[in-house]
Amino acid sequence: MCLGVPGRVIEIDGLLATVDFWGVRRQVRLDVVDEPVAAGDYVLNHVGFAIRRIHESEIETTLALYEQLLREADEDDLMAADVRGEVEASAKRRDKKGQ
């Protein structure tokens, strides 16, 4: 629960962003992020909410841990399971608007 996960913003509709997490598209809420977010930006997400916009120069370093975790981890890996849980926390993408 301490570990937020990064994802890339695909599009924005009001306070709802469609975010790509390693090929999985989910919806993330933008209520608490403190900087303007645009398509193409990376955001750090926790329990379905973006908590920070990740700056361009920091993206590669920020992604490294997660890429390695998801590449190598077995089913029982606790850290990888927490990362997958964070992705699950983002709402499944729907075509219709609304909550």
């Binding site: 629960m1 301490c2 608490v32 908590i51 029982d76 890996d77 606790l78 927490d82 709402a91």
Partner: protein, 383 residues
């Protein structure tokens, strides 16, 4: 459950820039020697830090005199028995309860929400508060979101309430605020902790500044660190420098995510919905301002005010003998290691946990059970 071999852990350690990792490990050894005490004890307060330390086998490169202790950094583990009993009482009274999966198997005074679910109570696992709100929207009866987690997670609960929830939705808040718990640990008479490693993503919200008064008051350094193996090593090296020099300062070693001010939008939403209140943390103590409770303006969504929660029937059941032997409290306060507990790996396993520390993926005991705990590569190599 397959714990990676120690060789595999050592390989993983080298996964990112081995030269830099080795240099940092050497620096940590040098600083520990310069400090000259045995042990030099520092504490981190984040389950994800413990996961990174155990998963990447970092303890194998720490010098023997350096003790890196996990403090009260697992939100599920510090959720107190009466808080779980409140959720249980609601579920057993027929109210639909939604909560994060980690808390499900943690026992209250007599049983867990998973036990209640197995017995027919309507307990739903959600990954986010938004999913709980959607469950309430899609149903008629009352739904209570049992809200656990530190300030990072409480921000999401606050934002969901501010965005508007249906009338059948309420919150039972067991949210906790980490900075006051650090105060308690620093003040414990038995404490050996000489500095703190603060959690990167919680500090994303609060900012590194939140630790400044603490550092000054307790004459203890605090370093904010990230979760990459190199982040953890670099954070520890900086912390040991501050310990060696006797500088009670706050250093931010995770500037790519954390600023001094933190996320002000998130802070504003958090404090509009919650107020800090004194309360017990399981196994630790009464922590002044350690619990986040709904403000009076939010009484209409506060499960504690909307429902008459009767805990008497749950408390009537005597606690199990095993639970009395559980040393989770000492482990969370940094006074014992999982291997000091007679139950660890024997009567208490990940499949049949006794204490909360063995339940959560962020609990020290669970992490040690999963990743092999305290690898000692030198001993291994000699055998």
């Amino acid at each position: 459950m397959s714990a990676p071999s120690r060789e595999a852990q050592a390989r993983q350690l080298r996964f990112r820039d081995p030269a830099e990792a080795r240099a940092l490990a050497a620096r940590i050894a040098q600083l520990t020697e310069q400090i000259g005490r045995d042990p030099v004890a520092v504490m981190h307060v984040c389950g994800s830090h413990e996961q990174a330390i155990a998963r990447f086998g970092l303890r194998a490169v720490f010098p023997k005199a350096l003790d890196v202790i996990m403090g009260p950094g697992c939100p599920v583990c510090v959720t107190d028995v009466p808080e779980i009993d409140e959720a249980l009482a609601l579920a057993e009274a027929g109210v639909r309860v939604a909560t994060y999966g980690d808390i499900l198997r943690v026992r209250g005074s007599s049983r867990s929400l998973a036990d209640a679910k197995a017995a027919g109570a309507r307990v739903e696992v959600v990954y986010s508060v938004t999913q709980a709100v959607e469950l309430a929207r899609a149903s008629e009866g009352p739904l209570v979101f049992f809200a656990t987690g530190f300030e990072t997670t409480a921000v999401a609960t606050a934002a969901a309430l501010l965005a508007g929830t249906p009338p059948n939705f309420s919150v039972l808040s067991a949210h906790k605020y980490i900075p006051p718990a650090m105060e308690i640990v620093a003040e414990m008479p038995d404490t050996r902790v000489e500095g703190f490693l603060a959690a990167g993503h919680a500090a994303t919200i609060t900012g590194a500044r939140v630790f400044e008064a603490f550092a000054a008051r307790h004459r203890l350094p605090v370093v904010v660190a990230g979760f990459e193996p190199l982040d953890v090593l670099a954070g520890l090296a900086r912390l040991l420098e501050l310990v060696r020099d006797g500088r009670a300062e706050v250093a931010n070693m995770y500037p790519r995510c954390v600023t001094r001010e933190g996320n002000r939008v998130a802070q504003e939403q958090l404090w509009r919905v919650f107020r800090p209140m004194g309360g017990c943390w399981r196994g630790i103590a009464h922590v002044p301002n350690g619990n986040l409770r709904l403000r009076d303006e939010w009484a209409h969504v506060d499960a504690r005010r909307r429902f008459d929660i009767d805990l008497a029937p749950l408390r009537a059941d005597a606690p199990s003998g095993l639970l009395r032997q559980c040393r989770c409290g000492d482990i969370r306060a940094g006074l014992a290691r999982p291997s000091d507990c007679a139950l660890f790996g024997r009567a208490c396993t990940a499949d049949a946990p006794v204490g909360a520390c063995m339940v959560s993926s962020e609990g020290t005991c669970r992490i040690w059970a999963q990743y092999g705990g305290h690898p000692d590569l030198e001993t291994e190599a000699q055998q």
